[in-house]
Structure formats: structure tokens, C-alpha cells
Amino acid sequence: MVNAPACLVRALAAALFLAVLAGCASIPPGAGTHPVDPLEVYNRHVFDLNERVDRALLKPIAQAYEAVVPEDLRICINNAFLNLLEPVNSINNLLQGKPSEAVADLCRMVVNSTVGLLGCFDVAAKAGAPRSHEDFGQTLGRWGMEPGPYFVLPLLGPSSVRDTAGRLFDFLGTDPLWYIRNIPLRNSLVGARLIDQRAALLPAEKVFEAAALDKYQFARDAYLQLRRNLVHDGNPPRLKDPDEDDDTAPAKPPAPAADQPPPQPAR
């Protein structure tokens, strides 16, 4: 019997294998010296690998999904998957000492699963109860744990040591999909959710690639800022600009070139 998830897993394995064969990432000099990224050499290799797998497999599937499925249905599917994650939001809000948000998440799930037709429509948001975005990595952050070194996960993308631990907890502890006993169904849903999530990234991608001089670094710094913002629910304390005090000095005069007279002092 051929089942779709098994095919997907095989295709993924094949793509991974090809990607590994295809070569390695270019590692710039000084990699790993930045305090947030001591694992940079490893990270760049995995980032590069992820990009290859994405280009070979995940992105084409997501593009096909976007081309074939109408936007309204895609939004419905996306909402339905997010609806299943409300217990994750709720538990983590509770662990972060926000009981009223925890209750609101559960109410959202009840309302959206019924009136919202199995989560297809986010009627609760329209009624003034916005969706939370909580996970265990954020809970650990709220408890005072620093993100630790930046850490790129194979296939899953940007993370940190703290958030990797958090993800593991979410996947195995609070993600409802992992409680489905019917393995082919569970795997199908996990695969479908992956494609749903990848398709949601498609519009952002072009902008991101245009903006980034170094895609790896840009993704890293955006990830770390994004997570810090999430840990503080949109209001992180301001970081001091490290160079604010000493870079307001007037410009240096241009270095005298051989064919130019030395610069005149400013009037």
C-alpha cells in the first residue's frame, strides 16, 4: 500500500541526500566570533542544507498548493491548524502567569471549533478575542532563561538552544497532533501543516531576500529579535544602542590620494 506520508518521507530523505552531495555552505572568515552565534560554522552548513531541501522539495509543493487551492480555502486550513494549537497557547499562558489569557485561548477554541466550523473561521478574533502566539520557548524566556546560542535546526530552521528545548516540549507534550493514535493520519496532518506553514511564508520571501545582504545573518538577527518581542508580548525593554555615544563624531577627512591635494580644513 502506498501512502502519501511515507512517500513524502522517502522524497525528503532523497532530497536531503542530494542536498548533502551537492556541496557545502561558504563560511565567511570570522564565523563564530559573534557572541550570539558561537555555532555559526555548523549553523551555516545546516542553513545551506535547509535552503537546498526547500528549493528542491518544500517550496515547489507549497507553490503548487498556493496555485491550486483558492485563497479562502487556504486561510480556512491555516485557521484550522492554528485552532488545534490553542491548547499550546493556553498552557503556556498559564505557565507564564496569565490565567485570563489562558482561559480566553480555550474559549476561542470552543467558539471557533463550533461556530467557526472546526476552526475554519476565526470568529473569536472578530468578536474581540485575538489569537495568542505562545509556546514553551517563550515560557522559558518569561521565566528568565536567555535564548543561548543561535541554533539552526535541520529542516525546521532558525532556533536557539532555549527554543529548541521549548519546541521539543511543545511537540511531544502539548501539540494535539502527536496524540493522534492513527499514525498515517497523524503523519498526513503533520505533513499538511508543514506545507500550510511553508505556503504562508511565500509572500514574505521575496521581500526578505531583497532586503538581506547576507541571508543567513539577516534571518538570524530577525529570528532573535522576533523571539525577544514575543517573550515580552510585543513590549520588550529597549536595548541600549551600543554605538550611540561614540559614532556621532564628525566625518574623517578623506585619505589623501596620490593624485589629489590634501583636503582643506572645514570652514
Binding site: 570570522g30 531583497a210 529579535q225 522576533l226 518581542n229 544602542d241 566625518a251 574623517k252
Partner: protein
Amino acid sequence: MSYTNVIASLALAAGLLGGVLPASSAQAQGSASAALSAPDVLVKKLSDDVLDSIRRDPGLQAGDIARLNALVDEKILPYVDFTKMTRLAVGRGWRDATAEQRQALTREFRSLLVRTYAGAVSVVKDHKVELRPYRAAPTDTDVTVRTQVVASRGEPIQLDYRLEKTEAGWKIYDVNVLGVWLVENYRNTFASEISRGGVDGLIKSLVERNKALEARTS
């Protein structure tokens, strides 16, 4: 997990920024009267104005660089301190840069941002900007104005601005989409470029990137 969905909003938000980010502080004297009003009022008015312009102009929605530059020059330039934005992003290297290098950095950085956002304005539909609660004393000279962008579909997107009070009124010098500050996000990249090839190396990278983007869009 929901993190990917949050990221997906980045493109949308980037489109909404339209030209809010990219502007140069050169000849930034324009309509100083609006710039003298309270910072939150200024941000609201500017956002509404830019969104409205994008909606009314099919050329902008199609990512026409010339039109976007015109929009930036006309509507946004007077309210953004782009030199400060560039200086903060360049960080330590700014001290060692000559006046010409500083000008080149500012010009190329602005150009990169205009080109980046040209690809994103097409997502603007029925979006509106709402101010989030604003706390600042009247004596403050450096403030953060928090807003969120709402649309009939999709979740609200956090979009914040940092402004500094200058003699010519309030000027935006940093923008934040979903918690990601623009200046902060370029700082490490710029520092690496400078450590590899000096300030000229960074200018060269910016110029090359802009050329590549130009080739892609034309």
C-alpha cells in the same frame, strides 16, 4: 510554530511601510508644520497618507521604482532622518568613514530599502493603521510610537517607530515590524562587511546588491 505565521506577516507589513522607511534626510525641511505636531499624531497622519497614496496609484502597486521614489521624496522625506538611521546601522564604522563615504552609505542604503519595499507594496489592500497606547512625557525628545496594522483578513501586525525631536520637528529614525527593528537587523551584517572590506567594502556590497535588484525588476 505560530512563529511561521508571524513571519508571514512580515511581507505584508513591509508593503505597508511602503516608503516609510526609505528616505534621505537631505533637504528634509519640507512641510515642517506637520513634523512639529505630537509624534503619535504625526505617525498616524503619515501612515494614512502613504497607504492612501498606494491604494490610489496602480503604478505604485506594480512596484514602479520611479513612482515610489517620488512618493518617498514628496510625502516621507520630511519626516525621516535617514542619515541617523544609516549611522546607527553602520555603528562603529561610521566614525572612520569620510563625509563622502557617509553620503554613499546613506544613498545606497536608502536605495536598497526603496527597492526592497517596491516589491511589497502590492499587498496593500484595505489596511488601516491604529495607534497603540502611547506613553511619553511632553519633555521627551526620543520616543517610541506603537501602532498596529489591521485588515479585514489576517491578524493585526505590530509596526512601531522611533522618533527623535529635532529643530525641524519630529523625525523617524527606526522602524520595527513584529518586533524586528530595522537598524538592529542591519547592524551585524554591516559590521561583518566592514570587518572584511572596510567601509568601502560595505558600500561596494550595497551598490552590487542594488544593481542586482535593478536587473531583476527591469
